[in-house]
């Protein structure tokens, strides 16, 4: 695993947890996504959780890029969930009419992992 992935991705019970850094921007997202797609294919993951807990602000454009990243990962096979969006970010995105589409959003990392394992019929 290269340095960007090593700092942001952990694997637990067949699921990858991608914790987005607070300073995520287009450049970092591009670099991260390119490497992460290969990682998802290589590891044959059951699920991927995008953890937003470090993000305190998020504009609509970057939110669209992040959700687009999540949707793209889902097309590679694993179940995808987003978790731990803070109230401030949720409020701003709603006011900007941001549409999360069909991506599943959970309250916490635990809730996301439980949901993925429950849908897969696996025990943690």
């Amino acid at each position: 695993m290269n340095s960007v992935l090593r700092e942001t991705v952990k694997q637990l019970h067949g699921c990858a947890i991608l914790t987005l850094p607070s300073d995520v921007d287009d450049e970092l997202l591009h670099s991260l996504s390119c490497q992460f797609y290969s990682y998802v294919i290589r590891e044959d993951l059951q699920g991927v959780v995008f953890d937003f807990s470090n993000l305190r602000t998020l504009d609509c454009r970057l939110a669209e890029a992040l959700f687009g990243f999540a949707k793209a990962v889902r097309t590679l096979g694993p179940q995808v969930e987003i978790c731990s969006i803070c109230p401030g970010v949720a409020s701003s995105l709603a006011l900007l009419d941001f549409d999360a589409g069909e991506i599943v959003i959970s309250r916490s990392l635990t809730a996301s992992l439980d949901a993925i394992h429950s849908r897969s019929g696996l025990e943690r």
């Binding site: 109230p87 949720a90 409020s91 309250r107 809730a111």
Partner: protein, 137 residues
């Protein structure tokens, strides 16, 4: 807690109705300022309690026009981003007709006429059910 926040909370009370279920009745006029206050309170409470459902009862809202409907849609979108689904209760026949005539798309939002229906919907999704004691005898 500052005075403004106390006033906001007094005007817009929210309470835990059951594990994972919050309840917020809205009474009076719903303008954009109040909609923002309601959204802030719902998001804070959903985040603090990790609730999975919020029942937003609008039976006491004076009038539901397209602006109010848009506020409601935004509130539900915001809570959804926290992983907490809003169930809209207190929909009267007049409101239902207005929403249809205004062409408001409530998307996948769960709506019910009564609070009990909203609670049942939340229970059902949480895998819970209410049964009569007699039925257990």
């Amino acid at each position: 807690m500052d005075i403004e926040k106390v006033e906001k909370s007094e005007k817009n009370p929210i309470t835990t109705l059951w594990d994972d279920i919050l309840f917020m009745p809205v009474i009076g006029l719903l303008d954009s300022k109040r909609a923002q206050d309601i959204m802030d309170i719902m998001l804070e409470e959903a985040d603090a309690t990790n609730a999975r459902y919020i029942i937003l009862d609008i039976k006491g809202v004076a009038a539901v026009d397209s602006a109010v409907a848009n506020h409601l849609v935004k509130i539900t979108k915001a809570t959804k981003l926290l992983g907490c689904e809003t169930i809209l209760s207190g929909i009267t026949p007049n409101v239902a007709q207005s929403l249809v005539h205004l062409g408001i798309d409530l998307g996948n939002l769960i709506t019910t006429a009564r609070v009990s229906g909203a609670l049942e919907a939340a229970f059902s999704r949480l895998g819970k059910t209410v049964v009569s004691v007699d039925a257990l005898k």
